[in-house]
């Protein structure tokens, strides 16, 4: 997640070229992370764009203690959480027909995959916030625990423990499904 000091300073100063560089570098990962939590491409797109927008407007508050990428992921995680709070009742049920129909395999498999995805999301959203964040970052983007710790502002040990319990909880919740 390394940037040169000069690049970070230009990012803080508001250089649009640097910002675009940051967007290009992270847009896919951020979108996937948001998709993992929102379960809907349209929502994921909105939430991820809101993340970049927030990062651009609040770049003056970036202290440079962590890399801009980690800071961006932290904003994304918080944005996803805000989204879930706003859509608490229906969040788990927001399916994405477009993404499901375009996934590969025969219709039966697609249906099964989409059901499994929905159940996974349902179980994920029932996890405590920290476990959910660690789990989403680890399973989706395969961040190292050190990176996850940096993103969420927790210790590496805490990231590991939360991941362990998240997997344990997910296994219990998805027993008989996968």
């Amino acid at each position: 997640m390394g940037y040169e000091r000069e690049t970070v300073e230009r990012f803080i100063a508001g250089g649009m070229d640097v910002f675009e560089q940051v967007v290009d570098r992270n847009k896919e990962k951020i979108l996937r992370l948001c998709y993992r939590i929102t379960g809907n491409l349209e929502d994921a797109s909105d939430v991820s764009q809101e993340t970049f927008l927030k990062a651009y407007l609040a770049r003056g508050r970036f202290r440079g203690n962590s890399s801009p990428d980690s800071w961006l992921y932290r904003i994304a995680v918080n944005q996803c959480y805000d989204f879930l709070k706003k859509n608490r009742k229906h969040a788990w049920n927001r399916s994405d027909a477009e993404a499901e129909s375009s996934s590969s395999g025969n219709p039966e498999n697609r249906m099964m995959n989409s059901e499994i995805r929905r159940e996974i999301r349902k179980a994920l959203l029932k996890l405590p916030r920290k476990q959910m964040n660690v789990f989403a970052l680890r399973t989706n983007e395969e961040f190292s625990f050190r990176e996850i710790a940096e993103i969420l502002g927790i210790s590496e040990g805490s990231a590991k423990v939360n991941y362990h319990f998240a997997v344990k909880n997910m296994r219990e919740k998805l027993r008989g499904i996968i």
């Binding site: 970049f52 407007l57 996934s103 680890r138 399973t139 991941y163």
Partner: protein, 237 residues
């Protein structure tokens, strides 16, 4: 290594999150223990299934559209100075406003109480410590004070500053007498003391020295207080 210990770190082992020593210990245990080996295989299969299941397939040109929308949003938002300010300061700005408001309220409350305290050497000391039943009556009296209670065309404030009138009030055991004595000398004045004081004032006034003319017969306020203080200090009472 025991089975319960392995079960606690099996996730880290699968995710390659263990140090060399622990990893070797877990590997050795899994080889020997069929129960833990079965658990390890199940856990690994489960975690594999969880990964890469987002099913996200993006159409061509998605990112072009995405970036266009994003930069349009940025240009739209940056036109509104209020939004820019809010985003720049965010929660810190809200916190500052909150602290400033709280400080302002605290200052107002403090000033109010300080004012009340100063007014009230009379208010609290004279009356506040009395029985609560007297408080309302005293408030009523205060309210009346603002009006012309003597019927001589003078309000209470005029009365207090007016020449000679305070003497009468002191002599009548009025609170002003007590208050002034207390303010100047920090002395408690009892009913008995006031009674004696009234007599003394009467004696002084009846004395010929004070009967030169009408205006001379009036003791000034400082004279009245001096008399009261002398009486108390000399244990006259």
């Amino acid at each position: 290594m025991k089975c319960w210990a392995v079960s606690h770190i099996i996730t880290d082992y699968i995710e390659s999150g263990l140090g060399d020593t622990e990893r070797l210990l877990v590997e050795a245990h899994i080889k020997e223990c069929p129960k833990c080996r079965f658990e390890f295989q199940r856990q690994k299969a489960f975690m594999e299934k969880l990964k890469n299941r987002d099913g996200l397939n993006l159409e061509d040109g998605f990112w072009v559209k995405y970036k266009k929308e994003l930069f349009e949003k940025i240009h739209g938002r940056t036109k509104n100075p209020l939004v820019v300010l809010r985003e720049m300061f965010g929660n810190a700005w809200n916190r500052k406003i909150m602290y400033a408001s709280a400080t302002l309220v605290a200052v107002f409350v403090a000033v109010y109480f300080i004012k009340l305290t100063f007014r009230g050497e009379d208010y609290f000391v004279d009356y506040g410590q009395n029985a609560s039943s007297n408080v309302n009556a005293e408030k009523l009296e205060d309210a009346k004070d603002a009006e012309d209670i003597e019927g001589d065309g003078k309000t209470d404030s005029q009365f207090r500053t007016g020449k000679g009138k305070t003497r009468e009030r002191i002599a009548n055991g009025d609170r002003d007498g007590r208050r002034e004595a207390r303010q100047v000398y920090g002395l408690e004045v009892s009913e008995k003391e006031l009674e004696t004081f009234r007599k003394t004032i009467k004696e002084i006034e009846e004395n010929e020295e004070f009967q030169v003319d009408e205006s001379a017969s009036m003791l000034t306020e400082s004279q009245q207080i001096d008399v009261l203080a002398q009486l108390i200090n000399k244990k006259y009472l």
